[in-house]
Point group: C2
Chain length 115, copies 2
DNA sequence: CATATAGTTAAGTATTGACTTATCTATTTC
DNA sequence: GAAATAGATAAGTCAATACTTAACTATATG
């Protein structure tokens, strides 16, 4: 069990690499084998495996092996953590802007009363 | 000018650190000086400045100096890049699930026809 | 003007990250 | 069952991160 902050660390860290994002983009269109995921990259297989380990460790993907083929897929709830955090920040920030706007309106009304 | 992928690299990288997220959380409630942002942390001032530089370099924050005080704030459009990417992935992924569902329904209808 | 305050720069260290090559293990397929 | 295929593990390299302390520069304030 991982605390919220550590989960965000892993998630954002995993998303910070273009190769890993590309793998997620591929996976968001359907599951794929390791070699299939590796194909677009000019990168050794161990490098690809490390990227996949980062994704899986962050809970962004799942995989199971059948025969000699490992099939990877996106973990449904995966992006929630990240999206929720971003949404919360934006909500807070917009709330603050609303308050500021209300305050400015109030000031303006007072000015009109005084003018 | 930065390409889309490099911008995402910087953004997610910046978000991957708990101290930087905490600073953004603080800033999403209103602007703050450097020392104000530093206060909650048991971290040297240079370390705080480096975190702030990462945030600003990623376009997540803005700052200006007046007198001897530097005031930092959130950059409005900052979280868009990250949020858009996450939304796109989720959209793709859900679209795929919809297609799968449709396909499974189709299969079921055929089965009923054959039953 | 002396001193405290707010921030900045430089330089060094220790850890983590993103790879590499080489080697090795299972599974298919012919 | 020999050879190709799919993936895994080990170990090492190089650069980037996340800090540190020390020293320095402005701007306020008593």
């Amino acid at each position: 069990m991982l605390n919220q902050s550590a989960a965000l660390d892993l998630t954002f860290q995993a998303l910070a690499d273009p190769a890993r994002r590309a793998m997620l983009e591929r996976l968001s269109t359907g599951s794929a084998s390791v070699s299939e995921l590796a194909r677009p990259f000019s990168m050794s297989m161990p490098a690809v495996l490390q990227h996949l380990a980062v994704l899986e460790n962050a809970g962004l993907t799942l995989s199971r092996k059948s025969g000699r083929v490992r099939t990877c897929e996106i973990n449904p709830q995966a992006l929630n953590t990240a999206q929720d955090w971003l949404s919360a920040r934006r909500a807070e920030w917009e709330h603050r802007l609303d308050r500021l706007e209300a305050y400015l309106n109030e000031l303006q009304n007072k000015d009109q009363g005084n003018g």
